[in-house]
């Protein structure tokens, strides 16, 4: 996805997010046709072609790789782009009741949910199927429709509420350090002894694991926010992860040769 990003940004600049969102929703409308496409053949007794197909296009009825596919998730991405435009406009104009531009976006996801209730094909919309990732792995329109609507409406509501209520910024450490939290959190989760559930119970084990992961992210965030001289180790980890991430996007930009441009620069240097 990151390697496609420069091309996608160029596409957004040329055509706008609304057209691209409509196109990505139209791809969801092809659900019965996409599910009718037979799975690609095995290559040297390996399901390489099938995996590529599921990663990019999400055709067929196999659910061996966690969805949604890249093309199916573009509806969420372009929905987010539209949301970002709304946030930017609202912020620049300072008008908090400036909600009209976002209504077509919410309406389009409601339309997708209505379509998912009627669409033929594998997968029926139930709470269990939505919760156990069956619909997600099938790339069912209901998954993107319901969760896309919840996500977009949730962020919009949070934005409105944030102007009335102020949360202490120290509580938002997970959102400030997503790369570290995800990387370290998954590392800890993989190494965590599963057998501990037999001793202290699954609930206590899960709570303990979550508490450890959150505590480490909190300490990391606190070190970075404190005096730089006292947090050299944290900054080293931070710089290493960020440089890896930055290098990936730079390489993608170089390959596409359009350049992403520098993000917003320092305002207080």
């Amino acid at each position: 996805m990151f390697f496609l990003l420069p091309g996608i940004i160029e596409l957004i600049r040329k055509t706008g997010t609304r057209v691209l969102l409509a196109a990505s929703l139209a791809y969801h409308a092809l659900y019965p046709l996409l599910k009718a496409i037979p799975d690609p053949p095995e290559f040297s007794h390996q399901t390489i072609l099938l995996r590529i197909d599921l990663l990019l296009f999400g055709t067929g009825t196999q659910t061996m790789i966690a969805g949604p596919s890249i093309l199916h998730s573009l509806a969420l991405f372009f929905g987010g782009c539209w949301l970002g435009e709304w946030l930017k406009q609202t912020r620049e104009r300072g008008a908090m009741d400036f909600t009209r531009p976002i209504m077509p976006l919410i309406g389009s996801f409601c339309l997708l949910i209505a379509y998912s209730l009627l669409v033929p094909g594998p997968g029926k919309l139930t709470a269990v199927a939505l919760g156990n990732m069956h619909l997600r792995n099938l790339n069912h329109p209901a998954y993107v429709g319901i969760y896309g609507l919840v996500a977009i409406a949730g962020v919009a509501i949070l934005y409105r509420l944030s102007s009335f209520y102020r949360l202490p910024t120290s509580l938002l450490f997970l959102g400030r350090r997503p790369l570290f939290a995800f990387g370290f959190g998954n590392f800890l989760i993989v190494l965590w002894p599963r057998a501990l559930s037999n001793v202290i119970g699954a609930t206590a084990n899960c709570t303990l694991l979550l508490a450890c992961a959150i505590a480490v992210v909190f300490v990391y965030d606190s070190l970075l926010r404190s005096d730089a001289k006292r947090s050299i180790a944290a900054r080293l980890v931070h710089d290493a992860t960020q440089v890896a991430s930055s290098a990936t996007s730079s390489l993608a930009a170089m390959i596409w040769h359009i350049g992403l441009g520098a993000p917003r620069q320092a305002v207080d240097r």
Binding site: C81, A127, G131, V150, V155, R194, I258, R264, V267
Partner: protein, 150 residues
């Protein structure tokens, strides 16, 4: 003096003031991260969750993708002028020095991925420094100027 902080923006990074941050985005990302960690932790510890809880935990991934799209629009709003053909040649020349990035990209999750990253990480940083020194205009200097300022 305005307090400085890092902001995550689709792989690139920049320093912005605390006052520039959208708190709603931070809250939403915090919620998504907490839900993702909880979902993975629940799976690892074989925790049986009720349907309502699993439904709530599944919000994490779509929320991340939506926030990703929102950040792209917020961070990269303006088109840039096209680059010259000579720059295109420079890009091709510097590509081999970025090969470790591709290797790091293919490292798997968990312990195996961590071990691979610990090997390719220093190579990656070294390659990035070399590429930056050769082509500062292409790669942009915001990352390293930010590091130096801190």
């Amino acid at each position: 003096m305005v307090k400085r902080d890092w902001i995550q923006c689709t792989g690139e990074q920049a320093i912005v003031s605390q006052t520039d941050r959208l708190v709603a985005i931070d809250i939403a990302r915090s919620v998504a991260m907490l839900l993702a960690l909880a979902a993975h932790a629940g799976f690892q510890t074989s925790l049986d969750l009720p349907v309502a809880a699993t439904l709530a935990l599944r919000i994490a991934t779509p929320l991340f993708i939506v926030l990703f799209g929102a950040m792209v629009t917020l961070v990269y709003p303006k088109p840039r002028a096209k680059r010259s053909i000579s720059n295109r040649r420079q890009v091709l020349v510097s590509l081999p020095s970025m090969l470790p990035v591709l290797l790091a990209q293919h490292s798997g999750p968990g312990l195996y991925g961590f071990l691979q990253f610990s090997i390719f990480g220093p190579m990656l940083i070294h390659a990035r420094h070399i590429a930056f020194r050769r082509h500062p205009k292409i790669l942009g200097d915001h990352v390293f100027s930010a590091s130096r300022n801190n």
